[in-house]
């Protein structure tokens, strides 16, 4: 039960982090509790809901399904870092215009999942968008506005150009 802490070195949102962590600490809990990056949310702790989705060496992963110690040497990006870099600004704007969030708890993971979809398919149709974000639960919106927002993002921005 008492566990020896392990040394962990990684890069989070472009900043180098060195610390000692318990081997059983999940990456999601590490980000939230050790680094106070509370934009990454925990909804189920078994990889079903997608609220904890972050980027790990450039790809989306479930931060609840990974131990922090497995991230040794990795580059991790969270919604805070991605917001800071401005990379998703147009998608965040589209989410805002379309009210593609209510409580916002799923939103950080949803943004990262939608960005991943657009990385591989820059011009998805509605069905492909629905498939692309189907690993991320949203309990508030019914998804329609999220699909609208993602569609608008790939068509280059404003509502007018999307329609």
């Amino acid at each position: 039960m008492s566990d020896t802490n392990h040394e962990l070195n990684l890069t989070v949102n472009g900043e180098r982090v060195s610390c000692r962590v318990s081997p059983r600490l999940s990456l999601a809990d590490f980000l939230r509790e050790e680094l106070h990056l509370t934009g990454t949310h925990v909804g189920c702790e078994q990889g079903a809901c997608g609220a904890c989705t972050v980027r790990y060496n450039g790809d989306q992963i479930r931060a609840c399904l990974m131990y922090a110690v497995q991230a040794e040497g990795a580059e991790v990006e969270t919604v805070e870092g991605i917001t800071e870099s401005g990379e998703l600004a147009s998608m965040q704007d589209a989410f805002h215009r379309n009210n593609a969030l209510q409580c916002g708890f799923c939103t950080p993971g949803m943004l990262i999942a939608a960005a991943e979809l657009l990385k591989y398919n820059p011009n998805p149709d509605r069905e492909q968008i629905r498939a692309g974000i189907s690993g991320n639960y949203c309990r508030c919106t019914g998804y329609h506005a999220i699909v609208d927002a993602v569609a608008e993002t790939c068509r280059g921005g404003t509502k007018e150009t999307a329609e």
Binding site: E80, T83, R97, N99, C103, Y137, R139
Partner: protein, 793 residues
């Protein structure tokens, strides 16, 4: 009715009312800067984890906590007896439900556990992980008792009693009997009937229930950072049950990761956590994990309804006769009780129709399962699934189009005020116009043609309609008259800052539905400033006026009106100061674009910033005896009718695969009338989100229990929540019949989506499988149930 104002807020220049303004506070959430209670961490904070009953019904014979106390990082181990010394038990009954009964409920079980998952022992440790480690070292012995799980036999004499002191397992029974239902059925040309089953399901807020309780013994103050949609109710409950002064309890919730009615009930875990903070004199945090959420968040909807409908051969509805049985778990939930859902079912069946005769009976019984209580659209989805399924069945038997049968029987748009057979009074609805609008929207004839073409190719599609009339924005008749300290009024305080900007604090809170946006829209419009010049405070009992907060689709209707009245009072105060300064009569002045202007010609006289500067910093320049009052408070409670009523109609278009039983949702439409639409986009999104939860009820979601009361699917991998890939596009349109009892005219929009989407989908599925000889009246309509109805398995 309110006095006619000089300027209605609705027609002022640059009005924000009726505009789809994006939510300013959503920016924070999009940047990962939300401040949810799960994010709260305080100095010296410890965490609690609970040992829960592994049995549905058992006697606790011994609890040995010694080894757990010695475990690393453990601060303390507490049993039901320990917590009972600090926290008084509660009883989930209300006086206006005549004859209802329930047993005292303690935060942690004492002596007997009554559902699997009921909390028994609390372990507090430095971290949640260490607390969970220590849970493993508890030795709790149980003597298993027979579990009562089936509501149908709960009242049989041989069934064991869940609370022997109550004498039986009945919580409540009620009847509605109006007109002469027996004669109506005797004389009817057609009677259709069915038995309906609605599975238990739950709200599944993505952020689980959570509280951080911070008790400061030096001032005997408790601050609870609690994921609740009813901070004032919880302030009252914490104060009374923990023996604290009400004014020394502060409940705060900034952002909240979903609520839907789940987060307005009293659960033992939050009460225990606050008690622990008092006992330990330090902050204590509890966060439910997902299994705990499924095992202990309130469930809803477990109903068996038998219903029949009498009609003339022309298709005139004579009346419904309804029998509802619901099992609500081991206790009636505090403080809103567990009988409201059933009580609404028996009042709402047939609500859209001009039935002269009506009879309904309700029995609410106990079970050894997790507790049930109010969840989004309370009772409505059940009542309208029953109502509308029988309408479709009758239409088929009479050879009438189901839309025509509805149009024939709706309470007509010119019949208001209208009193229903179940005793409600509708101020004004738009059922006929709503159906007309829906018909156009869905291209009804086109859909029917497509359906018929595809049937020839062996593709089975169905069109289903679901009408609803919804109870919203209740006054004190809902809870207050029954003795519950749950406010039906809301309050808004508002002040002019020296900068000429405005800050307001309001007791309706933000759940993501857009409360902070609509109150800013209202205040900005009334004060002639931009929304950007308004800052909004919600979710803090220490900073806002007292109120009821966000439930029963009441925020816009009640808190919106309070905000309008506060803004009007502030406007008058500003004009008074300006009048004194400008030596003009306030009646000759108006507020526009951040300036006091001449109402005559719009000439700018003085800025709001200048009014603020003079009032706050140069009172020496004001006449002797004049004291500017640039902070105001107004409260509003609905008076007159006990509830507002909204209405609308859903349509669902589905395809059913007769070989697999899978239902594909092709499209869903909603026409809803929530009164004045303050922000169309936000109303659309309430409807869509509500539809998604109704789809969950109709097709996917069910808390499955074994016959001995074990929850068998308590995870998000096993309990099916609708995914983006399973949901269709959802089109929403509005008709506005503003409430006459408030100036703002809003009635409530939070539950319309859930109220009749299950009805529409069930009718669509039955329409699709009718040619295959199937009919289904049980939800969720899983592939297995559909295949059984088709006799394929």
């Amino acid at each position: 009715m309110s006095e006619k104002p000089q300027f209605s807020v609705l027609d002022r220049p640059n009005s924000y009312i009726g505009r789809s303004v994006p939510r300013p506070n959503a920016r924070r959430l999009l940047a990962g800067r939300g401040q949810y209670p799960t994010d709260v961490s305080l100095p010296r904070m410890v965490q609690v984890a609970f040992a829960r009953s592994p049995f549905a019904h058992a006697r606790i014979t011994s609890v040995d906590t010694e080894a757990a106390r010695q475990a690393p990082g453990v601060v303390g181990v507490f049993t039901g007896e320990d917590i009972a010394k600090v926290c008084q038990p509660w009883i989930g009954t209300l006086d206006h439900f005549a004859g209802m009964k329930s047993a005292p409920q303690y935060p942690l079980a004492r002596d007997v556990v009554r559902w699997q998952g009921e909390p028994v022992v609390a372990v507090v440790a430095q971290t949640r992980a260490l607390a969970e480690d220590a849970l493993e070292m508890l030795l709790i012995d149980y003597e298993e008792l027979p579990a009562v799980t089936d509501p149908e036999t709960a009242l049989d004499p041989e069934t064991p009693l869940i609370h022997p002191d109550l004498g039986d397992n009945l919580v409540f029974s009620s009847k509605v009997d109006s007109g002469d239902i027996d004669s109506a059925f005797a004389e009817a040309d057609l009677v259709v009937e069915d038995e309906f089953h609605f599975g238990r399901h739950t709200g599944v807020t993505l952020e689980p229930r959570v509280v951080v309780a911070d008790y400061d013994p030096s001032e005997e103050r408790l601050t609870a950072y609690h994921g609740t949609q009813t901070p004032y109710q919880m302030q009252d409950v914490y104060a009374r049950h923990l023996g604290l002064a009400e004014e020394n309890v502060r409940v705060m919730v900034k952002d909240i990761g979903g609520a839907f009615g789940i987060k307005l009930h009293v659960h033992g875990e939050e009460m225990t956590t606050c008690a622990l903070s008092i006992m330990l004199k330090r902050p204590v945090k509890w966060t439910a994990d997902r299994l705990e959420s499924f095992a202990s968040d309130i469930h809803a909807r477990d109903h068996r309804v038998r219903a029949r409908l009498a009609l003339t051969k022309e298709g005139r509805i004579l009346g419904y006769d309804v029998d509802d049985l619901t099992g609500v778990g081991a206790y009636s939930v505090y403080p809103r009780t567990s009988v409201v859902e059933g009580n609404q079912v028996i009042k709402l069946v047939g609500a859209p129709y001009t039935q002269q005769h009506y009879r309904a009976a309700l029995k609410v019984v106990l079970q050894n399962k997790n507790v049930m209580s109010q969840y989004r659209a309370v009772g409505h989805p059940i009542a309208f699934a029953v109502t509308e399924a029988l309408v479709d069945k009758a239409a088929a038997e009479l050879g009438l189009d189901p839309l025509d049968l509805r149009a024939l029987n709706y309470v007509s748009d010119d019949a208001y005020p209208y009193k229903t057979a179940s005793g409600f009074t509708y101020e004004g609805l738009s059922l006929q116009r709503s159906l007309e609008k829906l018909k156009d929207m869905i291209d009804y004839q086109g859909l029917r043609e497509e359906q018929s073409e595809l049937r020839k190719k062996g593709i089975y599609r169905g069109i289903g309609i679901g009408t609803f009339v919804e109870i919203t924005a209740p006054g004190a008749a809902f809870y207050g008259v029954g003795g519950a300290r749950i406010s039906s009024q809301d309050g808004c305080s508002m002040k002019l800052e020296p900068s000429g900007k405005v800050q307001l604090a309001v007791s309706i809170n933000e759940l993501g539905q857009g409360t902070e946006t609509i109150v800013a829209q209202i205040a900005a419009t009334e004060l002639g400033i931009t929304m950007e010049d308004i800052s909004v405070v919600t979710g803090d009992t220490g900073a806002t006026p007292y109120g009821g907060a966000a439930w029963a689709s009441r925020a816009a209707a009640i808190g919106g009106e309070a905000t309008l009245r506060a803004a009007r009072a502030l406007r008058e105060s500003i004009l008074e100061v300006a009048g004194v300064t400008l030596q003009s009569s306030p009646s000759e002045l108006d507020l526009r674009d951040g300036f006091v202007v001449s109402s005559e010609d719009g000439e700018e006289r003085i800025s709001l910033a200048e009014v603020g500067r003079i009032a706050y910093f140069r009172s020496d320049t004001l006449p002797p005896g004049f004291q500017p009052q640039l902070s105001v408070v107004r409260h509003y409670s609905p008076q007159g009718l006990p509830f507002a009523f909204t209405n609308g109609v859903h349509a669902s278009y589905v395809e059913v695969d007769g070989d697999t039983g899978l239902v594909r949702l092709l499209k869903h439409w909603v026409v809803e009338d929530c009164g004045r639409v303050l922000n169309p986009k936000l109303v659309d999104e309430q409807a869509r989100g509500g539809v998604a939860q109704g789809i969950g009820m109709a097709l996917f979601e069910e808390c499955l229990y074994s016959s001995d009361g074990q929850l068998t699917n308590g995870s998000l991998a096993d309990y099916l929540v609708p995914l983006s890939s399973e949901l269709p596009d959802i089109e929403v349109a509005h008709i506005e019949t503003p409430s006459l009892s408030s100036e703002i005219g809003a009635k409530g929009a939070g539950e319309a989506g859930t109220a009749a989407s299950p009805a529409a989908i069930m009718n669509a599925v039955n329409d699709a499988i009718a040619p295959l000889g199937g009919r289904i009246t049980a939800m969720p309509m899983t592939p297995e149930r559909i295949l059984r109805s088709l006799k394929r398995i």
